[in-house]
Symmetry: C2
Subunit: 98 residues, 2 copies
């Protein structure tokens, strides 16, 4: 699935509701789902981890829609190696990456 | 960009470093970047919001790589409308979505 396709899908499914609730609510949901993903990584099964990865991705796409920004453009930052050191693999000193 | 392509890109650029630091560090980075995105939504400019969207997406892809899971499979949960009510647009009662 293309990143743009994901955004369109989220817009069709949740766009109107998301806009009604507003951006702050979307940020809150994204934070909540990130927490659920963290818990699933620590003690969840594979199926739960996949579920939570999907939820975080979905809220991230919803947030991008509300901001009027493209995840494709956002990902472009990484399309030519590390945006800091420009190398692939990254050769940034220490723990600086990503 | 395809979700699978994003994961491959992150694996080539950061895979080795991510595996060295371990999954817990990746979860911590994802949480940190989600916080930076929340701040950028509240008071950042468009360019900063795009930057932070990219960083969250990048860490999410890195985490999926470390879990051995596919973001494509994760997104599939949303590919036939709302996973709760199965409708497009979502018709879940109240504030249940996504």
């Amino acid at each position: 699935m293309e990143l743009a396709e994901l955004q369109e899908l989220m817009d069709r499914t949740y766009g109107e509701r998301d806009r009604e609730r507003g951006m702050t609510a979307t940020v809150a949901w994204l934070a909540e789902e990130t927490g659920e993903l963290a818990r699933a990584v620590r003690k969840g099964q594979r199926e739960e981890q996949l579920h939570e990865l999907g939820d975080v991705l979905a809220w991230l796409a919803s947030l991008a829609n509300q901001l009027g920004l493209s995840l494709e453009d956002a990902a472009h930052r990484y399309s030519h190696g590390c945006p800091r050191c420009s190398a692939t693999p990254c050769r940034c000193p220490g723990d600086a990456s990503h």
